[in-house]
């Protein structure tokens, strides 16, 4: 893997001095679970292995979130890739008090919005109107158990506007606290609460039969 350190761009193209280039430590496969801050610091210093660990750790939730927002597997894969490329370039802008997971999901949401805008400009395909069957491969048992619920939830989520859906997913599916959702969505706290509340009401209206029927 070529070692590349991407410095903060400056008008004068100052190369990164060799002393700033650390030898990547072997983080993967060692059983070591580095704390997130430590991992981030290493990734910021240009250790490719650290960024790989960040990808391994967070790409499932980013991919899941994007799959729910875009409802198209190829587009969600593409957007996951774009999210991590942007995250890599902006690593230095992550504040000390920001959680990496929420920050990544915030970038993912921006990427998905850009994709949705492109789809709106170019009417083919329209994923909101013609949702494709998710190309997921659950076990037969899982498919049997959750098929009905998935379909209902899928339909209920489609009814929600994309912003409202994103906020609800961040809260329920990804467990982000309201403050982090506000950062990821670029909203104030009250708006986050209102939108999630309204999303829940819409969802309940459609799911009430199923949820009340579950033990």
């Amino acid at each position: 893997m070529p070692e590349t350190v991407r410095p903060v761009a400056s008008p004068l193209d100052v190369p990164v001095p060799p002393s700033d280039r650390r030898t990547p430590s072997s983080l993967r496969g060692s059983g070591e679970v580095p704390p997130e801050r430590d991992l981030l610091d290493r990734a910021r210093r240009g250790e490719p292995e650290a960024f790989r660990v960040i990808f391994d750790r967070h790409s499932p939730s980013v991919r899941r979130f994007l799959g729910d927002l875009l409802r198209d597997d190829a587009a969600a894969d593409e957007a996951t890739q774009e999210t991590f490329v942007r995250a890599h370039a902006r690593m230095r802008t992550l504040r000390e008090d920001e959680r990496l997971g929420g920050w990544l999901l915030g970038i993912a949401r921006m990427v998905s919005m850009e994709q949705l805008r492109r789809w709106r400009r170019d009417p083919l395909p329209l994923p909101e109107e013609e949702p494709r069957e998710p190309d997921r491969a659950p076990s037969p048992e899982a498919a049997l158990l959750s098929g009905e619920a998935d379909r209902l939830l899928d339909g209920a989520l489609q009814v929600l506007g994309s912003d409202r859906r994103a906020a609800l997913l961040l809260r329920i599916d990804h467990g982000l606290p309201y403050e982090q959702i506000a950062e990821a969505m670029g909203w104030n706290l009250q708006k986050v609460k209102n939108e999630i509340h309204r999303a829940r009401l819409q969802l309940r209206e459609r799911l009430s039969g199923y949820v009340e029927g579950t033990p």
């Binding site: 893997m1 070529p2 590349t4 991407r6 903060v8 761009a9 400056s10 008008p11 004068l12 193209d13 100052v14 490719p48 960024f51 790989r52 990808f55 790409s59 499932p60 991919r63 899941r64 799959g67 597997d73 969600a76 894969d77 996951t80 890739q81 991590f84 490329v85 942007r86 890599h88 370039a89 902006r90 230095r92 802008t93 998710p134 190309d135 997921r136 491969a137 659950p138 899982a142 498919a143 158990l145 959750s146 619920a149 998935d150 939830l153 997913l169 329920i172 599916d173 467990g175 309201y178 509340h197 829940r200 969802l203 309940r204 799911l207 199923y210 949820v211 579950t214």
Partner: protein, 213 residues
């Protein structure tokens, strides 16, 4: 707990976020809160038991390729037309200066009232073209400075200083070119320097995620 727990407390309990024992205790004896808690719990289960889509290995491969690409894909910027126009005008000015016919000995003898006219016209055109080039470089620099000002706070102090110095140098070159109005060759040289600086700044702004964010 005297009253009902807040919605957020119930939600936190349903999502498994360190539920306060008194919230659960209250829900144990309050039918209304118990029902809300059950709803929230069922809702969370419904979301969370959905299958996890796979992360295909190709995604990482592409990420790796792209983060190590030496030149980022350039983004369209609204100040591009300024720079394009400035370069075109500067090129026209350069041409006008280069094709200006050399003054012959008769010009120095003061009998060139007729033959001096095309030269004067050429000089005026060249001056106008250089004026426009300088104006366009100034406009382009102004737009770049605005872009930079928006992201300046995200850069560290050392980088800020490098950026500030570069902007100051670009501006001083353009100013110096205005001072050299009577020397078209010097003016052209200074404008060439300005073009290089503006181009360098444009690339830097394009490449900087901190500024372009």
């Amino acid at each position: 707990m005297t009253g009902h727990p807040t919605f957020e407390e119930l939600e936190a309990a349903a999502l498994g976020e360190e539920p306060r024992p008194e919230v659960l205790a209250h829900a144990g004896r309050c039918a209304e809160c118990a029902r809300e808690l059950a709803w929230l719990h069922a809702e969370a289960q419904l979301f969370r038991r959905r299958p996890q889509p796979p992360v295909r290995p190709e995604i990482w491969e592409r990420v790796e390729e792209r983060v190590h690409a030496p030149v980022p894909i350039s983004r369209a910027r609204r100040w591009r037309p300024f720079l394009g126009a400035a370069v075109a005008v500067a090129a026209a000015a350069a041409l006008a200066v280069v094709v200006r016919p050399p003054r012959g000995p008769q010009d120095e003898q003061g009998d060139a009232a007729v033959s001096d006219e095309p030269v004067a016209q050429t000089d005026a055109k060249a001056q106008q073209a250089l004026d426009r080039a300088a104006g366009d470089y100034r406009s382009a620099l102004g737009v770049l400075e605005q872009e930079y000002a928006r992201g300046r706070g995200r850069l560290d102090q050392r980088t800020q200083k490098r950026w500030d110095d570069s902007f100051a140098r670009a501006r001083s070159l353009i100013d110096a070119s205005a001072q050299a109005r009577n020397d078209p060759d010097e003016r052209l040289r200074l404008l060439d320097g300005s073009a290089v600086m503006v181009r360098s700044l444009r690339h830097a702004v394009e490449d900087s995620e901190e500024v372009a964010r």
